[in-house]
Symmetry: C2
Subunit: 313 residues, 2 copies
């Protein structure tokens, strides 16, 4: 039981957005948001205004990740304050527009919660992505979702790295939540992935409703995988990829990779082993969209966060 004094007061979460199509070829979110724009009954909760929103409609139209540049890396202070002179890439203009509608980022006027719906080609299952280990509202929400989903699992990727963290669309909100479900190829809609995403959203919105009604959530602990490093494919002198993810590592997102374990396989059959110090937990293994970002997988370390008790201020 939490004592009264340790309970953190958090502003109620009246305004919630659900972003789909931040990457136009990740079809679970695109389809769910389109569905809910037509009929929002499923996402309505007492005391919550939930707004489904297509963030990159031109990319959705083309069924491509983006048009000019990755929208989910575009919410930098420089981009958001750049003079909109028509010379800017489409996604930068769109980031400014989204920031006006759902932000401004970092201001009291910003939306309370933004869920941003993504798919990955990696075998990551259901993943919630956090940007801060100190957002106790989000940690409590994740704990609620995990309990509601059990025995199915939903893991947590914490991207709080000072250099590797990127400027997401959801970062406009006070409580940004990324939802990443896979494996699903780009441009494909799979019913199992679609229904998993839908169920997580249901529980997340239930949590917000309960929170707004004044329910107090006692302290809890949340196991997370903290981003520690990005690992590129082995490349030759010209920068061309010369090895593939090793079959022992492929599809093994979240499983331990120990020093000496096979990591890559060259095209002539040689094994390249992990040479780092200590166990890592790779994820986003062989994600299609990360070839251009020179990233074969993200290395993470496991830790457990403590969430304070929270209740509505």
């Amino acid at each position: 039981m939490s004592s009264f004094s340790s309970c953190q007061s958090v502003r109620e979460a009246r305004r919630v957005a659900i972003f789909g199509g931040t990457h136009g070829n990740e079809l679970s979110g695109v389809t769910l948001v389109h569905l809910w724009m037509k009929n929002g009954t499923e996402i309505q909760r007492r005391g919550v205004e939930t707004r489904p929103f297509i963030t990159n409609p031109r990319a959705v139209e083309k069924c491509s990740r983006y048009v000019d540049t990755d929208l989910n890396r575009a919410f930098t202070p420089e981009n958001l304050s750049a003079p909109a002179d028509g010379q800017l890439p489409y996604e930068v203009l769109r980031a400014q527009e989204i920031n006006r509608m759902f932000g401004p980022k970092g201001s009291p006027d910003a939306y309370d919660v933004i869920f941003d719906l993504h798919n990955t080609t990696s075998n990551m299952g259901c993943t919630l992505i956090l940007e801060s280990s100190k957002d106790h509202f989000n940690l409590q929400m994740i704990n609620y979702i995990q309990k509601a989903l059990a025995p199915a699992s939903c893991l947590v990727l914490l991207n709080e790295h000072p250099l590797l963290k990127y400027s997401t669309a959801r970062s406009v909100a006070k409580h940004p939540v990324g939802l990443e479900v896979g494996p699903q190829p780009q441009g494909v809609l799979r019913s199992n992935i679609f229904e998993s995403m839908r169920e997580i959203l249901k529980h997340a919105l239930d949590f917000i409703e309960l929170f707004n009604e004044g329910v107090e959530f006692p302290p809890c602990s949340v196991p997370v995988f903290r981003v520690s490093e990005r690992v590129d494919y082995p490349r030759d002198a010209n920068g061309n990829i010369m090895a593939m993810v090793h079959p022992n590592l492929q599809d093994c997102d979240w499983e331990p990779l120990n020093p000496g374990d096979p990591m890559f396989q060259t095209f002539d059959g040689k094994t390249i082993r992990y040479q780092g110090s200590g166990t890592i937990y790779p994820t986003f293994i062989n994600e299609a969209a990360y070839y251009e970002k020179q990233q074969a997988f993200v290395a993470t370390r496991r830790e457990t966060l403590s969430a304070n008790a929270v209740r509505k201020a």
Copy 2:
């Protein structure tokens, strides 16, 4: 044993091409062809000139299926004879160029064999695609490959349908062979898919070498799945998709679908069942590239082809 009189004489296959990147985001073929362009030792065979070739370099550069239009539908008589006036789509110009280099299609000067390397997001495993049930050279090659691969399997899709057959890049050759391996997302290279494709090519080239050396191949039978129909996703009045491939059908390429079996699942959870007459064998189920072609899967029927004995003329 075949009697002498039933043995079909076929011209030797001196000139062989291996096409990769006909679709620029199908990375197994792109990678293998790039590899073999640097070092062709692996694909050299006595008495065979084997040429690895990137068919759509601009699409490969962009890692997209195509630039203007699908190259693998572009080899129509109209396109191949159109005046090259600079107004033509890139892929039509490229088809003309490929036809000059490896054809002309239907002429005695055309290449003997073209292998065209493709990936699919569908769970099809290793598939050889034929355009004619009467090409006994190809049927014998397939029989050879299947025996060499056993106990692993390699199925055969026969696309000889008068309306559904399309104008492929490989159709330029006397003996066109499509090689389709999956599941692999677009823009991803998986080692298991890569190695499967590589092994099939090895056996195919071995067959050609033996054939050119005068080995006679006795009559055999080849089970195939003949394309009978294309089935679209259920759509609403505006043409928008309103259902997904049913979880019972997803990933079940080549398995029987009987009248009354679940086929699609609507977004509100209703099951749409197969209402046709008789058993079909769906394949290319939920292929990413076929959403724009309004195709959820290809229906096939099983049959067994008889291949004549063949030997070099």
